[in-house]
């Protein structure tokens, strides 16, 4: 982990500007076995220091790939020069963002490193198990991926802190082929926040879930194409989490709100059925530590939960310090940067639809002709709230009972229209945290939700 060498540099912060100095190390470990072949064996670290200086509403930013006292001096000087350049070439003459107090935010969990051999051995053990147990697969992949961020942050007028966020996952991909010769694939991510040993000291606990994945693949082997059209569906928790992040979350990030997103004119208005509430959690969600806890952001704002939708009413946006001032609210810690060379942007943390009171069995039983959509490979949405999720596992629902599996397809809708069709919400929440959100920079995010019964457009033949 980084040693704090930056505290004394606060003396270099100039008067009349806002300055943030951030030292950061990103670490990654990666191992991949494709059909028994070790095709990836990589360890990497990037570390450096950046400074961001705000003068009269414009920002200068500079970073250097070196974690040293001299590098800190250089980036403060260069960021100041850049701010002055913009202030002279494109002046904004805006006041400095409001300060919400000083303090020190304590360090979270430690980042612990493990030998590459242990990672390779764990992946090999899983791969051998799959090869031996499921010889009829056409292909398989076992991939370990670990990324961590370690940040030392000093600010001129906000909180300081040493923030750590390690996470690691093993992805298992299983491949087969349908009777019509169509290649099919399913995958599952295991792991979460923490280091290798927090999740993979032993890997045999994963075998039960790998077996369930294999059984679903066998169902998919007999799968059919979905019938395209506007259907009643039960969205699995993975899908409702994706909905919370992609279709609603991005439209309520303040920079996109100012860019004219559909949410810009809907604050305090009805955007969903009464059953729908949504929160971007900081570090604690539903009584437990959130999947990827955030205690302080990269502008030195202490992280708090952001209420987005309450009983169907749009209640708020997510902010950095500048946008919070623009809307006259308090920032809640959403400004984060991915690498030492990245400026902080407004990002989600752990965004979720809140659970309801329905049971999944009742929800499925209530559908005459529709689909139960379980898992997604990716999702996108834009300013209008129009979203798309790739579906890689799902089942038909006929007369209240699960039917045949379906082959890969896509669902789409407009978030604030679709959310008004939600008429049942299950009583449990499924979280996922293995992905990255892309918005100029990548960013690890958590997303979660219960099962939702709603209407949605499904693609197919």
């Amino acid at each position: 982990m980084l040693t704090d060498i930056l505290e004394s540099k606060k003396a270099l912060f100039a008067d009349g500007v806002q300055t943030i100095l951030r030292g950061q190390e990103n670490r990654s470990r990666s191992v991949g076995f494709l059909k028994g072949n070790l095709v990836r064996n990589l360890r990497a670290e990037t570390r450096g220091i950046n400074a961001r200086v705000c003068k009269n509403g414009v920002y200068g930013f500079a970073s250097m790939a070196e974690y040293s006292s001299a590098a800190a001096d250089s980036v403060i000087a260069e960021a100041t020069r850049n701010a002055l350049f913009l202030d002279s070439h494109a002046p904004k003459n805006k006041p400095m963002a409001t300060s919400y107090g000083h303090g020190i935010v304590p360090t979270g969990r430690n980042i612990i490193d493990f030998e590459q051999k242990r990672i390779i051995d764990a992946c090999k053990k899983i791969d051998d198990h799959i090869a031996k147990t499921y010889p009829d697969l056409t292909s398989r992949m076992v991939m370990y991926s670990e990324d961590s961020m370690d940040k030392v942050i000093y600010t001129s007028d906000a909180h300081d802190g040493h923030i750590t966020s390690p996470r690691c996952y093993i992805y298992v991909f299983l491949n087969s082929i349908t009777k019509d010769g169509v290649p099919i694939e399913l995958f599952k991510a295991f792991g979460g926040a923490g280091s290798f040993e927090d999740h993979f000291k032993d890997v045999e606990w994963m075998y039960k879930d790998i077996d369930a994945l294999y059984k679903m693949l066998m169902d998919k082997k007999e799968g059919v194409y979905a019938q395209a059209g506007y259907k009643t569906v039960v969205l699995g928790g993975e899908l409702s989490g994706m909905l919370a992040h992609e279709a609603v979350g991005h439209t309520v990030e303040a920079d996109l709100v100012m860019g004219g997103s559909v949410a810009s004119k809907l604050l305090n208005q009805k955007v969903a059925s009464d059953l729908v509430s949504m929160v971007d959690y900081a570090h604690t969600a539903l009584g437990k530590e959130a999947p990827l806890p955030v205690y302080m952001d990269d502008e030195g704002t202490k992280a708090e939960d952001a209420l987005l939708i309450e009983n169907g009413i749009l209640k708020g946006y997510m902010h950095n310090r500048e946008s919070a001032d623009h809307y006259g609210v308090k920032p809640l810690g959403n400004a984060r940067g991915w690498a030492f060379s990245d400026e902080p942007l407004i990002r989600m943390r752990n965004t979720a639809v809140l659970p309801g009171k329905d049971r999944l069995e009742d929800m499925i039983a209530s559908v005459d002709d529709g689909y139960y959509l379980l898992s997604t490979g990716n999702g996108q949405a834009d300013l209008t709230g129009e979203f798309m999720f790739g579906i890689n596992m799902g089942y038909e629902i006929k007369n209240g009972k699960l039917g045949r599996a379906i082959l890969d397809t896509t669902v789409t809708g407009v978030a604030f229209d679709m959310l008004k069709t939600v008429d049942m919400v299950s009583d449990n929440v499924l979280w996922s945290s293995s992905g990255f959100c892309g918005k100029k920079q990548p960013m690890p995010v958590g997303l979660g939700g219960p099962q939702l019964r709603c209407k949605i457009m499904i693609g197919g033949r």
């Binding site: 990589l42 360890r43 056409t138 996109l256 860019g259 060379s341 990716n378 798309m388 397809t409 197919g460």
Partner: protein, 432 residues
């Protein structure tokens, strides 16, 4: 900071002392200067001084890689030590290897040193041009950067490649907005080696900006039909990337799931389709000069006149399968133009869509895709009737290349790809 050659010598000495069988390493020393504008106004000026060292070690038929950005002696020693240790931890596979010695070369391309004042003026001009000429376009972000990259690649077979490259790139995110309505987001970007022309006249900026305004005029149709889709060059590039990934990439050849596994020399596409990776094409600003395995990059046809010519085979995969190495690991895609004008192609479509973007799940290994047609327009009886929303397209990547209706003679060149408009029959188009 140590000169990059000195850094290379230091790493080479460490690797030679470690007595490993083979090694390769790549060093990059980069400087990026970037202007950001939010909502049409400059907001941030960013300078990034970046390094990267990636060391790969091959020993006893094992391979391991360590990468880092700290060029201090102590950190570089750790990088080498960990690469050696990673290789030691790996499983044996005699297929791991590096390319045989290639003649040493020094490459210069693009624009190595930026003119920051002129660059700022060109970006300022772009913002002003958009405001004046496309009043119903709302700019969310502009990211305008110049990056210079001094790179070295060396391996234990004696190959020594050195690059001095640099370019300006501009990326804009925007939507149509008339005060009442907002369209979906659209994106456009361009890479250029010089500042001779206004940015708005480069790549497909004007096409995208015009489209954003037109997206405010919605039309609709009901149900679903099988029709013709005319893909814009930017959107067709996305489908080409899917196709290469699904049918010719190293992973699907290695695991045997490619449907084109044994189709080299066979017709897989319409005879008018030629897809190449032409890194030496002068329209590509920063074409690849050497591959990840250490080969001098060559121009390669993937599909020539509809016939599959090459898979994307790296050295590891070549050793594994006995297939020849493809000496290009770039995405410098060049697609041959056709004979029809864009206007004639639109006029020839009975019923279909002009599709400017695709938001869909990654197509499965069978090539089936389904997703939302973004920035798209309904075409009926040869005329563009209006923009559509909540419209999905479904098809199959392999079938698409066989069902080509027409290819435009106009191509879009954004500095990294050269691609025409392509019309395809037999796509299922559905609306709410």
């Amino acid at each position: 900071m140590k000169e990059i050659r000195k850094t290379a010598e230091y790493i080479q000495n460490l690797l030679n002392e470690s007595k490993v069988d083979k090694y390769a390493f790549a060093l990059h020393e980069k400087e990026t200067r970037e202007f950001n504008a939010d909502l049409g106004d400059f907001s941030l000026f960013r300078t990034v001084f970046g390094n990267n060292a990636a060391v790969t070690v091959y020993n006893d038929n094992k391979m391991g890689t360590k990468a880092g950005n700290d060029f201090s002696d102590e950190a570089l020693k750790t990088t080498v030590d960990e690469a050696v240790l990673s290789a030691k931890s790996a499983v044996e596979d005699p297929a791991y290897d590096i390319a045989e010695k290639q003649p040493s070369e020094v490459f210069h391309y693009g624009c190595y040193e930026p003119d920051i004042e002129k660059f700022f003026s060109r970006v300022e001009e772009l913002l002003s041009d958009i405001k004046a000429q496309y009043p119903k376009v709302k700019i969310l972000n502009v990211f305008a950067s110049h990056t210079k990259d001094h790179a070295l690649y060396m391996n234990s077979n004696g190959t020594d490649f050195e690059d001095f490259g640099g370019s300006y790139s501009v990326s804009i995110e925007f939507s149509g907005n008339d005060g009442e309505k907002t369209t979906g987001l659209d994106y456009a970007d361009v890479t250029t080696a010089n500042l001779d022309k206004p940015f708005i006249d480069l790549g497909s900026f004007r096409v995208h900006l015009e489209s954003a305004q037109n997206q405010l005029n919605l039309t609709s149709f009901e149900g679903k039909f099988e029709g013709t889709v005319l893909f814009t060059p930017d959107c067709f590039a996305q489908f080409v990337a899917y196709t290469l990934n699904n049918y010719v990439s190293s992973s699907v050849i290695l695991d045997g799931t490619s449907l084109w596994l044994d189709k080299i020399g066979q017709q897989v596409a319409d005879p008018r389709i030629t897809i190449s990776m032409n890194s030496s094409d002068p329209r590509i600003v920063e074409g690849e000069t050497y591959t990840a395995d250490g080969y001098r990059t060559q121009d390669v046809d993937i599909i020539k006149d509809g016939v599959l010519k090459n898979h994307l085979i790296g050295l590891y995969l070549a050793n594994k399968t006995g297939r020849p190495v493809t000496k290009n690991t770039s995405s410098d895609i060049v697609i041959a133009p056709g004979n029809d004008s864009y206007a004639d192609i639109v006029a020839s479509i009975d019923r279909g869509l002009l599709v400017g973007g695709f938001s869909g799940g990654q197509p499965g290994t069978n090539g089936e895709f389904s997703g939302v047609a973004k920035n798209s327009y309904y075409i009926e009886n040869g005329q563009i009737k209006g923009a559509v929303s909540e419209t999905m397209i479904n098809g199959n990547l392999g079938d698409m290349l066989k069902n080509v209706k027409a290819i435009s003679k106009e191509v879009v060149c954004d500095g990294s790809m050269v691609i025409p408009y392509v019309a395809v029959n037999g796509i299922v188009i559905s609306s709410k």
